[in-house]
C-alpha cells in the first residue's frame, strides 16, 4: 500500500502533484511539498541510517536542520551529494536517495555485529588504542574509514555550476517564521532594503505546523500572504531554500541557496548552489529554537522523535510518524503534540511529565481528551530493536510505572535558541534559567526575535519580531514615522519547564543513553571524560567527539551543557557550550569554490604576443599570475634539446624574447633623483638623461629586495624596471616611503608596466635584425653604446630602445606601446629570419643569465642576502645614506661565514646538480652534517658543453676552488663539485659591449 502513514486530509503537501523518488532503490511515493524525510515517514520507512560508531539503527528525529540521523546521499554519478539532510531536502521526482554509513546494507549491517563482541567503544578509544604500534596506523585508518563512512564523494568532475553573489541590504532577516516575517514586514514599512532568507522551501517556519490563527487567518495562510506581499515589494528580496551558514566579523553573513530543486538532472546554467555574501547594516536573527532531547536507555531507537517534529509531520506534511504514541516531557509543548496526534487519529497511550504540577491550559486540554498523564514520571528505557516497541515508565524515585506499548516516542526537554550564527561571530550570550538554555544578548547590529530570544508564545513572538524589524530599520535611519502594526494572535500561557538532565538515581545507570546521536557519544562517555579530568566543555568535546559531526551537535550540545553541569555539581552558565563555528549546516565544496574554478580559478595574465607564442608551439610556465613562454620545442624536440638550441642561437646568432612582464614605473618630479638615491644603494642624481644604470633595492634590514635597470628619460623623469614578480610590491614599497616618510619629496610614481611591452633582441646579430626591421635610430656602437637608450621608430612604430643585457650578449630591449607590440614582434621575427633569429623562452633566459652569474631576486636571494653576499658590494655608495645601509654594518651582516654566491662545477661535467641541494664539505659519518649552503640555480650550459650551478656557500668566496659535495634530492648520493667564480662565460663582459 502506498503511503500507509499519510493522513487523509490536511497538511501543506500538494496531493494533486504526486511524485516518486527512490530510497536505496526502493520507490517512495510522495507529494510535492514533502521533504525526503516526510515522504519516508509517510511510507513507513523508519530506519534511515546506521550510527557512526556502533552502527545502531537510527531513524528520523526532527523535521529540520538539527537532525543527527537523517543524513543521506543524494543523486548519483558525478552529481551525487553526500551527507545531505533528508529533513530539509525537498522530495523531487526521480531523486535517488541512499543511506550512508551502513555496510553491506542497511538492514543487515556487519559493523553492528561488532556490538555483540565489544558492546561499546569508550570515549578516548582512538587515542588510547590506536596509537601504537605506529606502523599499524594505515590498517586502523582503513578499517575505521570503512566503518565510519559518511557517504561518498563523487568520483567524476562535478557538472554543476555554482554561483557567488555579493549582496547589500539595510536589514537582513534570518528565518521566515513568525518573528522573521513580522520583522521583515516592519522593516519594509519603514522603507528599509530588506533581505529575508529561510532554509526551508516554504516560508512560515513554525506557522506551517500550528493550528493557531494570525490576523484571523489560519497561520500557514497568513504566512503565505505575508511572504507574497514582501516578495512583491520593491527593495525586498525573499530567498527560500537558503541557509545562513556563517556570520563573521563586520557582520558579514554567508548564505547557501540550494538551486537544484525540482529536476535532479537539470543541466541548467547555475544548477548547483549559490553562495550569497551579504553585508547587511543590521541583522534580525529569527532562527528559532531546537527542541532538546531527553536521556533514557535506548533513546536512540528509530521511533524516538522530538515532540515538535511530530507536530510538524502531522500538521504540515499530513503524516503520522507512528500508530501509537507515548510522550515524555518536562514542559507544556509536548501536550500540543499530544493534541495534534489525537486530532490526527493517532492514539496517545501516555504522557510522562517530570513535573508534578501539570495543570496548565494544554495539559488540562489533554487530560480532557482522556490522554493518560503521569506526573512526576519519566521514561526509563525504550524497548524494541529496529524500532521502538514500548516505553518503560517509572516515577522519579525509580518506582516502576509499567511498560506502555508504542511505536512512536515523542520527547521534549525544552527549547534551546538556535543562536549559532550569533555565537559564531562571538556575539554575547547568557544563560536563561527560564529556558534552561543559552540565549543571545542583542548587540552590534544584531536583533534576536522569537524563539531564538527565548519567546515561545506566538502572539509575543509576532510582537517581538515587529519591534526587532522596526528597531533594525531605525538603526539605519529608516522610519515612516508611525508605529508598525503588530500581527495579532491569541495569547496563551505556558507553565514553566523543569530542567531534566540526568535521570535520577539508578535510572541513570540504564544503558546506553545517547547524548550525541550522530557521534554516538553516551552519558557514560561524558562521565569517563570528567573522571579523567577533561572537565572544560571544550575538552569534553575533544575527548568524546561530542558535537563534532556534520550536524554540529545542534541537539547534543545544549543537552550536554546541562548534563555536565549536573555531573560536576556546577551552574550550567559556567559550563558553557562548545565554540560555535561556521558552517551551521554542511556546504558543498563546489558552492564554496563558486566560479573560481578551471580557467577562472585565478587571473591568467598574458602579453600582447600570447597568440603568437601559442601558434609557435611554445610551452608555458606560470610566473605569478603571468603565463610566460617557457621554451619553443620544434617537432620531436625534448625540452632539453629545445633549450640548448635556443641558448646557442643567442650566443652565436640572435634570439628574441618576450619580456613584457617586467614591472615598469615612471618616476617624475624635481626630487626624482634624490628619491632614487634614497631607495637604491648606488648614486643616481648624476646619471645623464639617455643613460641607464643597474640598481639594487634593499629592505631596511639590508637584504636585497629587488633589482633592475633604471633609465633617466629627462631632467625630471626616470623609468624604473622591476622584476616581474615584484612589480606590485616595489610600487607599494616606494609609495609607502614617499607617502609616510618623505611627503616633502616632490615625486610622482605611475605604473606603466602594462602600457609598454618589452621585446628583447639578444645575440651578436641583434643589431643587424634591428636594422633590417627598419629603424631611424643610429645603431653603431659609438652612437648607441651599452647602458644607454634611444627613442625612435622600429618597424614604423614609436619605441624606446634600451641597450641593456640580461644574457651577456649584444642586446636591445625594445619598449613599444602594447597595442602595437605584436606588429613590432612580428616585424623583428620576419626581419631576423634570414639571420636565423630564434624565439626563446624563460628557461633559456635563465640559463644565459646563469652563465653570466647574474642573480635572480628570489632565486639566488631569499630575503636574507646582502649585496656583498652576491658580490655586488661595489654598488654600495659610501657618500650617501640609502634604505638598509645602516644594517650592512651590523655584526651579523659582516660575519665572514655568511653564505656567499659562488659557482659550482661538478667533477662529472654531465652531472646536473639539483636546485635546492644541500652543500657540505665532507659527507663523512659525522651526524648531523654541518651544512655549508645550498644550490640556487643549476643548468646544462650548451655553450660551455657542461653543467654549471650557482650556490650560496658559507664563506665561499674566500675559498674558491674548494672541494664540496652536494646532496641529491633524496639524500641518497653525494655529488662532488668544486667551487669557482660565479661568472662562467665571458668574464670580461666584452660581448655585451660589442
Amino acid at each position: 500500500m502506498s503511503q500507509p502513514f499519510r493522513l487523509d486530509h490536511g497538511g501543506r503537501v500538494d496531493r494533486d502533484t504526486p511524485l516518486q523518488f527512490t530510497f536505496d532503490g526502493r520507490p517512495i511515493d510522495a507529494f510535492r511539498g514533502d521533504t525526503v524525510a516526510s515522504a519516508l515517514l509517510a511510507n513507513g520507512v523508519t530506519l534511515v541510517g546506521r550510527s557512526f560508531k556502533y552502527h545502531r539503527p537510527r531513524g528520523i528525529v526532527s523535521a529540520g536542520a538539527e537532525d543527527p540521523n537523517a543524513f543521506v546521499q543524494l543523486g548519483h554519478g558525478a552529481r551525487t551529494l553526500p551527507n545531505r539532510l533528508g529533513t530539509v531536502t525537498a522530495a523531487t521526482l526521480g531523486l535517488k536517495v541512499r543511506h550512508v554509513n551502513a555496510w553491506p546494507n542497511l538492514e543487515y549491517d556487519l559493523m553492528s555485529a561488532f556490538g555483540l563482541v565489544a558492546p561499546f567503544i569508550p570515549a578516548g578509544f582512538y587515542y588510547k588504542t590506536l596509537m601504537w604500534p605506529r606502523r599499524f596506523w594505515p590498517l586502523y585508518e582503513h578499517v575505521l574509514r570503512h566503518a565510519a563512512g559518511l557517504g561518498h564523494a563523487p568520483t567524476a568532475a562535478d557538472p554543476d555550476r555554482y554561483d557567488h553573489v555579493h549582496a547589500h541590504c539595510d536589514v537582513l532577516v534570518v528565518g521566515a517564521g513568525p518573528a522573521g516575517l513580522a520583522a521583515a514586514h516592519a522593516a519594509v514599512q519603514s522603507g528599509a532594503r530588506v533581505l529575508l532568507v529561510d532554509e526551508q522551501s516554504e516560508a512560515g517556519g513554525s506557522l506551517l505546523s500550528t493550528d493557531e490563527r494570525v490576523d484571523g487567518l489560519p497561520a500557514p495562510q497568513w504566512a503565505a500572504t505575508a511572504t507574497a506581499e514582501l516578495a512583491a515589494t520593491p527593495g525586498v528580496t525573499v530567498l527560500p531554500n537558503t541557509t545562513a551558514f556563517g556570520l563573521y566579523e563586520s557582520n558579514l553573513v554567508l548564505l547557501a541557496e540550494r538551486l537544484r530543486t525540482d529536476q535532479p538532472d537539470d543541466a541548467g546554467s547555475e544548477s548547483g548552489a549559490r553562495v550569497w555574501r551579504v553585508l547587511p547594516r543590521q541583522i534580525v536573527l529569527a532562527t528559532g529554537a531546537h527542541e532538546r532531547p531527553l536521556l533514557f536507555a535506548n533513546n536512540d531507537r528509530p521511533g524516538v522523535m522530538l515532540a515538535g517534529a511530530i507536530s510538524t509531520y502531522v500538521r504540515r506534511y499530513a503524516v503520522a510518524p507512528g500508530s501509537r504514541a507515548v510522550l515524555f516531557t518536562n514542559n507544556d509543548s509536548a501536550y500540543r503534540t499530544a493534541l495534534d496526534l489525537t486530532d490526527a487519529g493517532v492514539p496517545v497511550a501516555a504522557i510522562a511529565d517530570v513535573r508534578t504540577d501539570t495543570d496548565g491550559d494544554l495539559p488540562s486540554e489533554a487530560r480532557a481528551q482522556g490522554i493518560p498523564i503521569h506526573a512526576g514520571a519519566a521514561v526509563r528505557r525504550a524497548h524494541g530493536r529496529g524500532r521502538v516497541a514500548a516505553a518503560e515508565l517509572c516515577s522519579l524515585d525509580g518506582a516502576p510505572l509499567g511498560t506502555v506499548e508504542c511505536d512512536l516516542l515523542g520527547v521534549s526537554g525544552g527549547f534551546a535558541p538556535a543562536l549559532h550564527l550569533h555565537a559564531q561571530a562571538s556575539g554575547p550570550t547568557e544563560w536563561d534559567p527560564t529556558l534552561a538554555a543559552f540565549a543571545p544578548r542583542p548587540g552590534s547590529g544584531i536583533h534576536p526575535a522569537g524563539a531564538v530570544a527565548g519567546e515561545l508564545d506566538l502572539a509575543a513572538t509576532l510582537r517581538q519580531g515587529t519591534q526587532a524589524g522596526s528597531a533594525a530599520a531605525a538603526a539605519v535611519g529608516c522610519s515612516n514615522g508611525s508605529e508598525p502594526e503588530v500581527p495579532r494572535a491569541t495569547e496563551s500561557t505556558q507553565a514553566p519547564i523543569q530542567p531534566y538532565w540526568l535521570p535520577p538515581g539508578d535510572l541513570a545507570g540504564a544503558k546506553p543513553q545517547f547524548v550525541d546521536l550522530h557521534e554516538d557519544v553516551t552519558l557514560d562517555d561524558l562521565r569517563l571524560s570528567l573522571r579523567e579530568g577533561y572537565e572544560s566543555i571544550e575538552h569534553v568535546k575533544r575527548y568524546t567527539t561530542l558535537g563534532m559531526g556534520p550536524d554540529q551537535g545542534k541537539l547534543a550540545n545544549p543537552l550536554a551543557t546541562g548534563v555536565i553541569a549536573q555531573l560536576l555539581g556546577r551552574d550550567p552558565a559556567s559550563v558553557g557550550t562548545p565554540r560555535h563555528r561556521p558552517a551551521y549546516s554542511p556546504v558543498s565544496l563546489g558552492a564554496i569554490a563558486g566560479r573560481h574554478i578551471g580557467p577562472l580559478a585565478d587571473p591568467v595574465r598574458v602579453t600582447p604576443m600570447q597568440d603568437w607564442h601559442e601558434a609557435a608551439g611554445a610551452r608555458f610556465e606560470n610566473v605569478g599570475q603571468w603565463r610566460r613562454a617557457w621554451y619553443y620545442p620544434q617537432p620531436g624536440e625534448s625540452m632539453h634539446e629545445a633549450v640548448a638550441r635556443e641558448c646557442l642561437a643567442v650566443r652565436h646568432r640572435v634570439g628574441i624574447l618576450d619580456y613584457s612582464t617586467l614591472g615598469k614605473i615612471e618616476i617624475t618630479g624635481p626630487d626624482a633623483g634624490e628619491f632614487l638615491d634614497r631607495v637604491y644603494t648606488n648614486a643616481w642624481k648624476r646619471l645623464r638623461p639617455g643613460r641607464c644604470r643597474y640598481g639594487l633595492m634593499l629592505g631596511e634590514d639590508g637584504m636585497i629586495f629587488d633589482d633592475g635597470v633604471t633609465a633617466r628619460l629627462d631632467d625630471q623623469r626616470y623609468l624604473m624596471f622591476t622584476s616581474t614578480s615584484n612589480a606590485a610590491p616595489v610600487l607599494a614599497w616606494l609609495e609607502q616611503w614617499l607617502q609616510t616618510e618623505w611627503p616633502d619629496l616632490r615625486v610622482y610614481l605611475t605604473s606603466v608596466s602594462e602600457h609598454w611591452s618589452n621585446i628583447a633582441l639578444a645575440g651578436p646579430r641583434s643589431r643587424d635584425v634591428l636594422a633590417a626591421a627598419g629603424t631611424d635610430i643610429p645603431l653603431a656602437g659609438r652612437d648607441f653604446p651599452f647602458m644607454t637608450f634611444r627613442e625612435g621608430h622600429v618597424a614604423g612604430v614609436p619605441t624606446r630602445v634600451f641597450r641593456i643585457s640580461f644574457s651577456g650578449e649584444l642586446s636591445y630591449e625594445i619598449n613599444v606601446a602594447a597595442d602595437r607590440a605584436r606588429h613590432v614582434w612580428e616585424s623583428l621575427v620576419d626581419a631576423g629570419r634570414p639571420l636565423g633569429i630564434t624565439p626563446y623562452g624563460t628557461e633559456t633566459m635563465h640559463v644565459l643569465r646563469a652563465e653570466k652569474g647574474f642573480i635572480i631576486v628570489g632565486q639566488e636571494t631569499d630575503g636574507s642576502v646582502t649585496p656583498s653576499d652576491v658580490g655586488l658590494g661595489r654598488l654600495l655608495s659610501r657618500r650617501k645614506d640609502f634604505l638598509g645601509k645602516r644594517s650592512l654594518s651590523r655584526p651579523d651582516s659582516v660575519r665572514p661565514d655568511r653564505k656567499q654566491l659562488v659557482g659550482l662545477l661538478t667533477d662529472d661535467p654531465a652531472q646536473v646538480l639539483p636546485e635546492g641541494g644541500h652543500v657540505v664539505d665532507d659527507p663523512g659519518p659525522q651526524r648531523p652534517l654541518p651544512m655549508r649552503g645550498h644550490v640556487t640555480s643549476s643548468y646544462v650550459s650548451p655553450v660551455l658543453g657542461r653543467s654549471i650551478a650557482l650556490a650560496m656557500v658559507s664563506g665561499g668566496r674566500a675559498a674558491l676552488g674548494e672541494r664540496l659535495y652536494v646532496a641529491t634530492l633524496h639524500n641518497d648520493r653525494w655529488l662532488p663539485a668544486r667551487s669557482c667564480h660565479p661568472v662562467f662565460y665571458d668574464p670580461a663582459g666584452a660581448r655585451q659591449h660589442a
Binding site: S269, L279, P599, L600, T750, A818
Partner: protein
C-alpha cells in the same frame, strides 16, 4: 608622427577607420586615450590649467567623475586622476597638458595601451557585477557619476557608473582583460550576456 600601424586592443579588436561604435550589452570600448594625471589638489592654478585643456573641472570629491566634451575625468586618489578621451590623439593631449603644467609639480603619463574599457549595460548589469564586486552598486549608493577602484572577481578594476540604464564602464589593465572578459561572460551567461562574436578574427 602618428603611426600608420593599426592598434590591437587587449580583447583582440583591431583599430580601423571604419570601426563601428560598439553596440550591445557587453562590449569592449577599445582605443580610448587613457592618461594618468598627478598634481596637488591645492594647486589651483594647475587645476585651472587642466580645466582649460580638457574642458572639465577635475573631480575633487573621492570616487566621482566629471564628464564634458569628450573627456571624462575620473578620481583615482587625492592627487591622481584618469583622463579618458574619445577622439584625441593621446600624444597631442599629453603634450598640451604637459605644456599647460610646465611650471607646476605635476605628471602626465600616457597609459592608453596599458588598459581598456569594458562596457556593461542593460537590466542585468548590477546582477552581473554583484557576482564579483563586493561594493554596493545600488543607484541610491552608487549613482551615475560615481566611480570606484576595487576588485572585480580576482582582478583590480575601476568601475564607473555611466548612466541609469544602468551602464557601467569597467576599466581593467591590459593583461587582466582576457580574464575579466571571460569572467563577465561566465557570470553573465545566466542572463544571456556575451560579447559580440568577433568577425575580425
Amino acid at each position: 608622427m602618428p603611426s600608420p600601424i593599426p592598434r590591437r586592443s587587449p580583447l583582440g579588436e583591431i583599430q580601423s577607420a571604419e570601426s563601428p561604435p560598439p553596440d550591445g550589452q557587453l562590449v569592449e570600448r577599445p582605443f580610448l586615450t587613457h592618461l594618468n594625471l598627478r598634481l596637488h589638489p591645492d594647486d589651483a592654478e594647475a587645476l585651472a590649467a587642466v580645466h582649460q585643456v580638457i574642458g572639465v573641472q577635475l573631480p575633487l570629491t573621492p570616487n566621482t567623475i566629471t564628464a564634458g566634451g569628450d573627456v571624462t575625468a575620473i578620481w583615482l586618489g587625492p592627487d591622481e586622476w584618469l583622463l579618458l578621451a574619445e577622439h584625441h590623439q593621446s600624444d597631442a593631449l599629453v603634450a598640451d597638458l604637459q605644456d599647460a603644467l610646465a611650471s607646476h609639480f605635476a605628471s602626465v603619463v600616457d597609459i592608453s595601451a596599458g588598459q581598456t574599457v569594458i562596457r556593461l549595460r542593460g537590466p542585468s548589469t548590477l546582477d552581473v557585477l554583484a557576482r564579483g564586486c563586493a561594493l554596493d552598486l545600488h543607484p541610491t549608493v552608487f549613482p551615475p557619476g560615481a566611480c570606484a577602484q576595487t576588485l572585480l572577481a580576482r582582478a583590480q578594476a575601476l568601475l564607473v557608473a555611466v548612466d541609469d540604464t544602468p551602464t557601467f564602464d569597467i576599466v581593467v589593465r591590459r593583461s587582466f582583460a582576457p580574464y575579466v572578459a571571460a569572467w563577465l561572460e561566465d557570470s553573465g551567461r545566466q542572463f544571456g550576456l556575451h560579447f559580440p562574436t568577433s568577425d575580425t578574427a
